[in-house]
């Protein structure tokens, strides 16, 4: 077995040193009956080649987005991954280290986290950010829980333009904490009123820009209205590439910003692992969940970094911790940070512009099709179109033609028949004009 270095001779010598006759003797505390009855209907060890063959065949059953023009988003985006990014995150010193509990021999990870925290704060326009959460959806739930701790209130209002998975995860978590989450109906037509929902009993309102259906928003007035009632404003971002072109949520007065970093951190991987970005105001740091790296000095006065403010966390506070999170999403946070560093200010803004350009071209061509209507006047790289027939069927027929032409809104909202003709469409820098023309041609056939 290629991952096990001990030889039989080693085992024998070690048993002698221990004073045991057999390895089984070391398991003597395990219940005898359970040991005897344990049978596993599983194959025995396989060589690298055999495993590659089986898993390769399984992977080949999927239509991957490199094989088909794809226009999928809804919180999970296909962006270009620079070659240097994957090289760096595969370096064993990053890949095979753990949480930097011993700072003297973990400065690489700690400095990278500190740079990540700064980058997240800069692009969101916030004061501080943590070392990451599991993903955008769980970060959103943590934000609502934190808002309840800060305000000592137990009610939240969730916009109908927040990603439904973020809303689901938040509602699920809060149900168990007896926090009441009022979820507004899905809002593809951009009609909901958030300001009217604020009140002195509301811990936070949760909104998203670009919204789930693609709409852009300026939450400045909403932020002011929130703060007048002591309510916090939580802003979600599902594709942080948008922050290269849009006003940062911090500038609008957000109190907590959460985002999904996957779009800048490598492949989609069928939706996971991702990385939750979490940023807030300095005055709330002790109510913040998750790990934090902070700057300090060593005994020789040299600059260095440590994990800090750990007393918020479960290993010290136990049942009074701000969260139960322990492992977060370190390597994906590193990937995000590496990508941001590769892009820099100029590259980040250019990437955002290119995304927007491709989306506007796609929107113009879709809007020109008979019976097809783009729902929002302003958008970033994703928008909703209304089709003359059920979007679910259209998507299936496009897939038959080798095109991944968007996501039917009904997949998220099966109980809203009035949304069944809506299709969520995304274009990124990975789409070419040829991809777009292929989609338009295929749609013409399918809709005719």
């Amino acid at each position: 077995m290629r991952y096990l270095p001990l030889t039989d001779a080693n085992r024998k010598d070690m048993l002698t040193a221990i004073g045991a006759k057999s390895v089984d003797e070391l398991f003597r505390d395990l219940p005898k009956d359970a040991l005897a009855s344990a049978k596993f209907d599983l194959p025995d060890t396989q060589s690298e080649m055999e495993v590659e063959r089986t898993l390769g065949a399984m992977a080949a059953k999927n239509l991957n987005c490199g094989q088909a023009p794809s226009f999928l988003g809804a919180g999970n985006y296909r962006h270009h991954t620079p070659a240097a990014l994957d090289y760096i995150i595969q370096r064993g010193e990053f890949l095979t280290a753990y949480t930097p509990y011993q700072p003297e021999i973990s400065q690489g990870t700690l400095q990278a986290i500190y740079e990540f925290q700064t980058q997240v704060a800069l692009i969101t326009g916030m004061e501080v950010a943590n070392a990451s959460m599991y993903d955008g959806a769980t970060a959103c739930a943590e934000a609502v829980a934190m808002a309840c701790r800060v305000t000592k209130r137990s009610k939240a209002v969730m916009s109908g333009k927040v990603h439904p998975h973020y809303a689901d995860v938040t509602a699920t978590s809060m149900k168990f904490l007896n926090i009441d989450v009022e979820r507004l109906a899905p809002d593809p037509f951009n009609v909901e009123d958030m300001i009217g929902r604020i009140g002195p009993d509301i811990a936070c309102v949760v909104v998203q820009t670009p919204g789930f259906f693609g709409h852009l928003a300026n939450f400045s007035a909403l932020a002011n209205a929130c703060h007048a009632e002591g309510t916090l404003l939580v802003v979600c971002v599902t594709d942080p590439v948008s922050l290269g072109a849009l006003m940062p949520p911090g500038r609008m007065g957000a109190d907590i910003v959460v985002a999904e970093g996957q779009s800048l951190a490598g492949p989609m991987s069928f939706g996971g692992p991702g990385v939750g970005l979490f940023a807030t105001r300095e005055k709330f740091i002790r109510q913040m969940p998750g790990r934090l790296a902070g700057e300090t000095t060593d005994e020789d006065g040299r600059r260095g970094w440590v994990l800090t403010l750990s007393t918020r966390e479960q290993h010290i506070r136990r049942e009074k911790a701000t969260s139960n999170i322990c492992t977060n999403s370190g390597l994906i946070a590193l990937a995000f940070s590496v990508h941001m560093t590769l892009l820099g200010e100029a590259g980040f803004k250019r990437l955002a512009k290119l995304n927007h350009a491709m989306a506007t071209i796609l929107a113009r061509k879709l809007d020109a099709l008979p019976g097809v209507r783009v729902l929002s006047n302003s958008f970033f790289n994703e928008f909703t179109v209304e089709l003359p027939k059920a979007a679910g069927d259209v998507v299936e027929r496009l897939a038959e033609r080798g095109i991944l032409g968007g996501i039917p809104v009904s997949r998220f909202y099966p109980t809203y028949p009035e949304l069944q003709d809506l299709l969520l469409v995304t274009a990124t820098e990975t789409n070419t004009t040829e991809d777009i023309d292929a989609l338009i041609a295929a749609l013409k056939e399918v809709l005719s």
């Binding site: 096990l4 300090t296 479960q314 492992t327």
Partner: protein, 509 residues
């Protein structure tokens, strides 16, 4: 001879590296994107072109930056990492290669189901291995890490009690448990009560039984426990817990000690999370991503979170909504999309590579390695409990009594010896604990090298007169001891341009 000082601050191969923000050349980018076609702006009033303050670096500078940072990290690839309860075992590169197959990596979670049959099959295969290895009825695949899996288990338990109209409000957790256990129970709205350990480092079964009653919702027990010992009376405990109408949650953080030998379903367990990044070799990545699939008994399975992969006549399907179909009684959703899919690919590659026979050998070698450490190190150190242990050995600080040297000092001295220290001061029930988990992927030669260093350090401490030297350790690492008190008193959590202390605050107002 004194060590030379250098103008650069570098010390030979130990290269100092500034922050990316201090290497900024405005306008530089390593991103080389195609030209932007002509387009009509649709950002309207929401667009912004204001500077964000991100630094610009070229690709060679970026690669060098992260290469130098990486060289300041200790890792399993570079050396022995006996960090108890974290299971730092070898991370096979085949796992990485498989996760990067375009058919797994370049797949979107909302493609039509017909185009992702292989991805759903992968989740289903991974689930099959996990339920088969545990003898449990079902597995919820979506929890993102161990603590998230605990939460999944407790949410299932709460949902089951709610469905039965029961309003039980207390969860019992042993003193020796990971902090995540009480934190998780609190997130489900439960009050937490501690159960004491007995002098052998195991749960005090009588104390536990006497506390069982109509207010107890669940008992959470780590098995093998954080002292590296198997809870011998777990079947007895499970029966008592069930008789009292409560559920038995087993923390599976240490499942690697028993995998392939014992099905936890035979112990009466109702729920257990499995850290794929521990038992099944997926990389820890400097703190994640992990994955915490949670196996469930028949009683709890109906409440599992969505999404669920469903095997049908025409292939695989996914139930994505609670309240529908097979997820009729699901308590909801706890993670976006399908969970940590990329981690599932890695774990399945490992499980297939090892096979049932290899996994049994792995737990055997892990326990053998730990007992070898326990036996050899007992020569100079004080084991907290008599052997045999399971996959990890815990020592207390009695051997340091009167030396002026602490557990922390010993750990820092091990850094100078070229090893990652064991877990320190955990479990809390052992005074000055040093918790060592060698894992099965270390050779006897590697263990012998560590033992030699550890014994050397212990002897030096016990010989006396070395306290000051110990307190000065580490001296050979990229940094000496860092001022954690200063870091916590005046937190500096991000870089700011010099002389611009308030810029970000103003920007946020």
């Amino acid at each position: 001879m004194t060590k030379p000082t250098t103008a650069s601050g570098h010390k030979g191969l130990q290269l100092e590296q500034a922050l990316i923000f201090e290497q900024d050349t405005q306008g530089t980018t390593a991103g080389d994107l195609p030209p932007i076609p002509e387009y009509a702006d649709k950002l309207g009033e929401f667009g912004s072109d204001e500077p964000l303050g991100l630094p610009g670096l070229s690709e060679p500078e970026v690669v060098r930056h992260y290469t130098r940072l990486s060289q300041k990290n200790y890792s399993i690839d570079s050396g022995f990492y006996p960090l108890g309860s974290c299971t730092m075992k070898h991370n096979p590169r085949l796992n990485e290669k498989m996760a990067r197959l375009p058919g797994f990596a370049d797949v979107h979670p909302f493609q039509p189901i017909s185009t992702v049959q292989g991805a759903l099959e992968l989740i289903d295969s991974c689930a099959h291995w996990l339920t088969e290895l545990t003898g449990m009825a079902a597995v919820a695949m979506s929890p993102a890490a161990g603590a998230h899996g605990e939460l999944c288990g407790l949410m299932c338990i709460k949902s089951a009690h709610d469905a039965a109209g029961s309003t039980r409000s207390v969860v019992l957790v042993p003193d020796s448990a990971h902090g995540t256990n009480p934190a998780t129970a609190a997130l489900c709205g439960y009050a937490v009560e501690a159960i004491p350990a007995n002098s052998e480092g195991r749960v005090d079964t009588e104390a536990l039984k006497s506390r069982l009653g109509p207010d107890i919702a669940a008992v959470m027990i780590t098995n093998p426990n954080t002292c590296g010992l198997f809870e011998r009376e777990c079947i007895d405990i499970a029966e008592a817990v069930h008789a009292a109408g409560a559920y038995f949650y087993m923390d599976g953080a240490n499942f690697n000690a028993i995998v392939g030998r014992l099905r936890i379903g035979d112990l009466g367990v109702d729920a257990m999370h499995i850290n794929l990044h521990k038992t099944f070799s997926t990389p820890h990545g400097g703190g994640g991503p992990g994955a915490g699939p949670t196996v469930l008994s028949k009683a709890l399975a109906p409440f599992a979170p969505v999404p669920m992969v469903v095997r049908g006549a025409e292939g695989y399907d996914a139930e994505e909504h609670a309240g529908f179909g097979t997820a009729k009684n699901s308590y909801g959703r706890m993670k976006g999309y399908h969970g940590q899919f990329g981690v599932f690919v890695r774990a399945l590659a490992y499980m297939m590579s090892m096979g049932a026979d290899g996994l049994k050998q792995a737990s055997g070698d892990a326990v053998l390695n730990a007992n070898y450490l326990l036996a050899r190190l007992s020569e100079e150190m004080s084991p907290a409990f008599p052997g045999p242990c399971m996959h990890e050995a815990v020592f207390d600080d009695r051997f340091l009594k009167g030396t002026g040297v602490t557990t922390l000092d010993i750990s820092k001295a091990l850094i100078d010896e070229g090893f990652h220290p064991p877990t320190m001061y955990f479990p809390l029930v052992v005074h000055g604990a040093l918790l060592m988990e060698p894992t099965e992927t270390e050779s006897k030669a590697a263990l012998d090298q560590f033992i030699e260093s550890m014994l050397h350090v212990a002897r030096k401490a016990k010989a006396g007169g070395a306290a000051a030297e110990f307190q000065a350790a580490p001296q050979l690492a990229p940094r000496r001891r860092l001022d954690e008190t200063g870091a916590a008193r005046k937190p500096v959590l991000r870089w700011k341009p010099s002389g611009d202390e308030t810029s970000t605050r103003q920007a946020a107002e």
